[in-house]
Structure formats: C-alpha cells, structure tokens
C-alpha cells in the first residue's frame, strides 16, 4: 500500500534521514522503532507532506505522492496523527472531530459524516461526553483519542501514528494500543512510529529499527522482540 524508496529528508542541508526504504502492505501494522532523534518523526512528516524538503520516492497505492502538499495527501486516504497530538486546542472537541471531515464536508455527505462521528464517539465514549469542552482542557490520553478520532474522520485507508504513547500513563498506553488493534481488525492499515519499542512490537506484524537516520534492522515483530540487539538497546535488556 505504501512503498518508500531511498527517501532522504531533513530541515537543513544535512538530511535527518538518509535513503530509507520500507514497505507497508495493506491490512498490516508496521512499526518503526528507534530512540529519540533517530529520525522517526522526520520520516513521517516527509510521508504526510508536512516536510517537503526531501528526495526519493514515496508511492501510495502505486501513485507517487513525493511532491504533493500535505492537504492533498490526506485526500488520497493517508492520514497522520502527528507527534504531540496536535489537536486544535482552542476549539471544542466536537469541532475538532468535525474538521476531520473538512475535505468532504457537503450537505450530500451529511449522513456519512454523522455516521462516522457516531463511530468515533462509539470507539471513544469519553469524547462524546466531552464534546462541548475546549479540546485543550482534555487529559493527555483524551487528547490522543481525539487526535485519532479526528484522523479517522478523514476517511483514511492508511493511518500514520507518531508516538501515540508519548507522555501517557501505562494503563492509557494499553488502551491506545487496543484501539490500534481494533482499527487494524476493522481493516485499517497502520504505520506506527514508537519510542516505546515493547508496546510497538506487541501489536505490529513487521518492524523497522531506525538509528541516526537509517534503517539498521528489519523483520517480523515477533522476531525483533527476541533479537538480542533489540533487547539490549530498546527493551531494557
């Protein structure tokens, strides 16, 4: 579904990621793990179009999206839940979710939009309870749910998740992981970027290990969980 070939990207003249190639097959959960500063977020921002300073090829459904701006890429069905939630903090929860449907917000899609909103609220009942609240007043976990809910409103086929566990209590992390599994069970393809390697490898089918901007290891998640190098570096021995 998503193929990345020799992608380099960064913010200045020196790229933060160099010649990365990876693939996300349809219906799978693929994970990218790595330490802080390994280039994980740079990679996702290059894929979603937020960072346009890049070279290499990014194919989504066989179509090149390397040169498209972010707002066009979302329309193709590739939605990113950015690092640090990135909700609209001064707007209400309901407005945040509604804006997820911005690209097809027309009267004739009203039924579909309502149905999708109901699905989001069913998946995260706490959001329905807080619908009229200002999004910035939610807890970290609730904000993460809101960010995922908003991304689901964009009609994604592939969901990119950037560090969804960041700053959350372990019990909330488990809840988010279960949500990701549920979504995958419903047929959603997922690319999960995580510093929390144990959590990511638990639910992923396949994983890549990123170090200083390059892929140093790749394989089925179950295999990486038992890899001595991964154990030593990312799973606390």
């Amino acid at each position: 579904m998503l193929e990345i070939e020799k992608l380099s990207a960064g913010y200045g003249p020196i790229p933060a990621i160099r010649e990365i190639s990876l693939a996300v097959p349809e219906g799978r959960v693929v994970s990218i793990i790595g330490a802080n500063g390994a280039g994980k977020s740079t990679l996702l921002k290059a894929v979603s179009g937020l960072n346009r300073n890049k070279s290499g090829r990014i194919l989504f459904h066989g179509q090149s999206i390397s040169n498209l701006p972010a707002h066009r890429i979302v329309g193709l069905g590739l939605s990113q839940v950015a690092e640090g939630r990135q909700i609209f903090a001064h707007m209400t929860v309901a407005d945040n979710i509604q804006l997820g449907a911005y690209l097809y917000y027309r009267r004739r899609h009203r039924a579909e939009i309502d149905q999708r909103m109901d699905q989001v609220y069913a998946m995260f009942p706490i959001l329905a309870k807080r619908a009229k609240q200002i999004a910035g007043s939610l807890s970290g976990g609730e904000q993460q749910m809101l960010a995922i809910g908003r991304a689901l409103m964009t009609r994604p086929k592939l969901l990119l998740l950037d560090e969804p566990s960041m700053g959350l209590a372990p019990i909330v992390v488990q809840e988010i992981l279960r949500t990701i599994e549920t979504l995958n069970g419903m047929g959603m393809t997922i690319l999960l970027v995580e510093q929390n390697a144990r959590a990511a490898l638990q639910i992923a089918d396949f994983a890549y290990v990123l170090e200083t901007g390059q892929v140093v290891l790749e394989g089925p998640a179950a295999k990486l969980l038992n890899d001595p190098k991964v154990k030593a570096a990312y799973l606390g021995g």
Binding site: H71, Q86, Q98, G100, Y102, L103, T154
Partner: protein, 300 residues
C-alpha cells in the same frame, strides 16, 4: 447659538464617540481576522476603508448606481483588492518571516494610496447619507441617521462573523489554521486558501466601514494610514486577536477620543488614541480581553 446643558453635551459626545468607535471596531476586526490566521499585522487595512469610501463615491454618485447595488459592487471591488494584496504582495514572498510580510503590507498600502490619488485626486469626497440627513432629536441629543447605519453595520458584521466562525466549516477551518497550521494541513485544509480568505474578509469589512463613514466624515486618498493606526490601537486595546476585544477596544477608543476632544482640546484629537495605544503597550500588552499566554506565544 444657544449653549447646551452640560449633560446633553456629554451625551452628544458619547453618541459621536460610539459612532466613530464603531468604525474603529470594524477596522480592528479586520486586523484581527488576518492576524489570527497569519500573525501578520496588515498595515494596508486602512486603505481598504479608504477604498470603500472612494469606490462607493464613484459607483453610487458618479455612475448613479442605486444604493444597495452600489453597496454590493463596492464591497466586491474592495474584496478583490484584498485578494490581489494576498496574491501579489504576500504569497510571492519566498521564505517569509512575519516581519517581512508586515513590511510588504506597508509597501502595498503606499502603492494603493498612490493609485487612489491618481484616480480620485487629492480632494475629499462626500457621499449622500443612506437615509437622509434630517437629524433625529432625542431629548436634546442630536443623532444623525447615518450614525445608526454605522452602529447597525457593526452589529451586522459582529453577528455575521460569530455565525461564520462558529457555524460554518470554512469559518472553523480558518480558526483551525490560527490554532495549529500543521494540524490544519493534516485534515486537508489548504492554509493558503484560508490566508486568501482572511484577506478577502478583512477587505470586505474595511469597505463596509469606509462606505458607511464617508457620509459622516468625507473621504480622501490620504485617510487610510490614520484609520489603520486608530483601528490597530483599538485592536491592541481590546487584545490583539480577540473579536469581542476589537469591538470593546474600538468603542472605548472612540469614546475617549470624542470626550477628550470635546472636553479638553480638539487639537490633539488624534494624539489621544496614540497615547492610549502606548499606555496599553506599557501597562497591559495583552489588552483588555487578550490572553497573555497567546500574546507571548505569538511573539509580536
């Protein structure tokens, strides 16, 4: 000339102050719309007001187009200038910083003023009042019917914007750009379109302010800068970025100006607004209804 009782005189100043304050409020709202989406202070905001008055003079007085149609055409024309301002002065700048963009708006305002001088010359123009000039006597206080139009349009603009930002998806998308531009992109909002829309909307509101002001205070090519300063003062006073703040700031500034000009000395009429502006910046930079956190965050 009979001398009015002091109380009536005071009321008269208040009425005048609120009217001119309503104009400042509309200019301040224009500043806020663009500022909220882009962090740019559009210093050409006053030129929209000037153009609103002068284009209306041409369309309504010179071409003889009936009032409602002339109103629509004028607002449309000035909106187009706002769109051109974005396309020709703002968007082409590569790697923009907020400061570069603000300077670009200064350049644009000088150009707009120059072109206006070539078209309309240097003399001030009058416009017939929308519903005549027969004053309404309210127990000793004289109200020009045009005053009611000015205040009425401020109310319409305020209600319209509230509806736009709270009820329509485009309004919400504009707020979203102001809130978090990257997140806006990730839900498919084209931020450039929203910037364009913010310039168009500000220009339209500026035009409304200009064409309702002209029957009261005339209009010439050179009025833009002072109106921009007053409107900016109102926006700062109310809290940059806040719409209720803009209205409050505008009305308070208008009142201060009218009262101090009437009771102290009219020679320093324009200075009072600037003194207020400076005082606010010294004492409470976030304004009356502004959010200190937001002000710090926006760096300006």
């Amino acid at each position: 000339m009979e001398s009015l009782p002091f109380f009536n005189q005071l009321l008269q100043f208040i009425v005048t102050g609120l009217t001119i304050g309503a104009i400042y409020a509309m200019v301040a709202i224009g500043f806020n719309i663009i500022y909220n989406v882009t962090e740019i202070i559009n210093l050409a905001q006053g030129e929209f007001v000037m153009l609103g008055g002068l284009v209306m003079v041409t369309v309504h007085v010179m071409w003889g187009v009936p009032l409602p149609l002339a109103f629509g055409l004028t607002v449309l024309g000035v909106t187009l200038v706002g769109v051109l301002l974005d396309r020709l002065a703002i968007r082409p700048i590569r790697k923009p910083s907020v400061m570069t963009l603000i300077i670009a708006t200064v350049a644009a305002s000088i150009i707009i003023k120059g072109v206006a001088m070539l078209i309309w010359g240097k003399s001030p123009y009058d416009l017939p009042a929308f519903s005549g000039r027969t004053p309404i006597d309210l127990g000793g206080v004289i109200i020009q019917p045009q005053y009611l139009w000015v205040v009425g349009f401020l109310v319409v603009v305020a209600i319209g914007l509230t509806w736009f930002f709270n009820r329509t998806i485009y309004g919400k998308a504009m707020s979203a750009c102001a809130d978090n531009p990257d997140a806006a992109r990730l839900v498919g909002i084209n931020v450039r379109h929203m910037v364009l829309l913010s310039f168009a909307l500000s220009a339209a509101i500026g035009a409304v302010a200009g064409l309702t002001l002209t029957p009261i205070a005339l209009m010439d090519y050179d009025r833009g800068a002072m109106l921009a300063i007053k409107g900016f003062g109102a926006a700062i006073l109310g809290g940059l970025g806040s719409f209720p703040g803009a209205i409050l700031g505008g009305l308070v500034l208008g009142l201060i100006e009218a009262l101090s000009a009437g009771l102290l000395s009219s020679g320093y009429k324009d200075a009072y607004a600037l003194i207020i502006l400076l005082a606010v910046l010294f004492i409470r930079p976030s304004g009356i209804l502004g959010n200190l956190e937001v002000t710090r965050f926006k760096r300006f």
